[in-house]
């Protein structure tokens, strides 16, 4: 789920193509996917479904199972309350409950900003891991909130 609280996935786009044989739903053109308090935006998002519903209805019509994976490309933004991430590409794996951003990654939490090459954002426990471009370092800015000392080390 894009959001830890689950719920139906609403989407809007310029075009939709669904290929039943591949269980693949392709959304193109200003794509916006919202699930509860989480939002994923990109130029193109591909959703891959499991076979559960198709197996259930056996007729092989246009049916979809559960979402197994989403691949977003082109100006990808993932926004949740108090945290947002940006990258050139993002892959959301339901089985691992995580979203992996690659390419020019920027993560912002409140006023804190971190930049890197790869970001793995775990949705359930909100754990974020950033890796730099090989040979470079992760860089970030932390703004201490009033009344807190600034000795906190970045993760």
């Amino acid at each position: 789920q894009l959001s830890e609280s689950g719920g139906p996935v609403s989407y809007s786009a310029d075009n939709l193509e669904y290929f039943d044989g591949e269980r693949r739903l392709l959304l193109t053109g200003d794509v916006d996917i919202v699930q509860n308090d989480a939002r994923l935006r990109a130029d193109q998002i591909t959703l891959y479904f499991s076979n559960s519903t198709a197996a259930a209805n056996q007729q092989g019509g246009l049916g979809s199972g559960d979402i197994e994976r989403m691949i977003a490309t082109g100006e990808v933004y993932y926004v949740r309350p108090a945290q947002s991430a940006r990258g050139n590409r993002a892959v959301y794996e339901v089985s691992q409950d995580s979203v992996t951003f690659t390419g020019n990654v920027v993560v912002a939490s409140d006023e804190n900003v971190i930049r890197g090459e790869t970001l793995v954002l775990n949705i359930g426990n909100r754990r974020t891991v950033i890796r730099p471009t090989p040979g470079q370092r992760v860089r970030g800015v932390f703004v201490p909130s009033e009344g807190q000392n600034s000795g906190q080390s970045p993760q």
Partner: protein, 214 residues
């Protein structure tokens, strides 16, 4: 004595009787000739009438074509698309206006494919030249997967086996709730393409019946 008297009295009677017999023979011969001629004339009349009917019938057909449209009740047409998908097109009434290759107006047309797609509408127009059927009015269609859509207008290309709907389409089913400006179903009904203002909602894992959550 009586014999003589009988002879004397008999001669005129015999003459009269012979005269009557001859007249009856002539009458019978006349009647025989009349009836034979009558039978011959009847046969001739039958053949002449059949010949006339055949000729005139042809002429009449021409006259029929010029005046009234061709009308069929409960027509059913079974065909196959280019990539082999069989389909069936039926209707309550089909009417073709006068003239060569005129479009055929359909009342309550129904389009079915082996892949499980069913589509129906109040009206339709089949264009034999373009091999397309335009479904008009409140068009309802569903696919084997249980997705149901409505659209005001749908064009079926019987050659390619594609369904293209313009004027907005809304639907619901295992794919969730869907809405767009235009719709296309191709590749033997296994590829769905929606264009323009696409909106949709995929049901949550717990609600797979396509009903949007309140």
């Amino acid at each position: 004595m009586t014999r003589h008297f009988a002879d004397f009295d008999w001669d005129p009677k015999r003459a009269a009787t012979l005269k009557k017999a001859r007249r009856r023979s002539r009458l019978i011969a006349g009647l025989r000739r009349f009836f034979v001629a009558g039978a011959g004339a009847s046969f001739a009349a039958v053949f002449v009438f059949m010949a006339l009917y055949a000729i005139q019938g042809g002429a009449n057909a021409g006259v029929y074509d010029a005046r009234e449209p061709l009308r069929m009740l409960n027509p059913r047409f079974i065909g196959r698309t280019e990539n082999g998908g069989p389909y069936q097109l039926s209707a309550e009434v089909a009417e073709q206006a006068v003239g060569q290759n005129q479009p055929i107006e359909l009342v309550a047309p129904v389009y079915r494919t082996d892949a499980g797609t069913i589509m129906l509408a109040p009206r339709g127009i089949y264009d034999p030249q373009a091999k397309t059927v335009i479904f008009d009015g409140e068009v309802l269609f569903s696919d084997a997967g249980g997705n149901r859509f409505t659209t005001p207008n749908m064009i079926v290309d019987l050659n390619l086996g594609t369904l293209t709907g313009r004027g907005g389409v809304t639907g619901a089913g295992p794919l969730g709730v869907l809405q767009a400006e235009s719709y296309e179903l191709r590749d033997s009904d296994r590829a769905l393409v929606l264009r323009g203002g696409v909106r949709g909602q995929i049901p949550d894992r717990g609600q797979q019946n396509g009903e949007p959550t309140p």
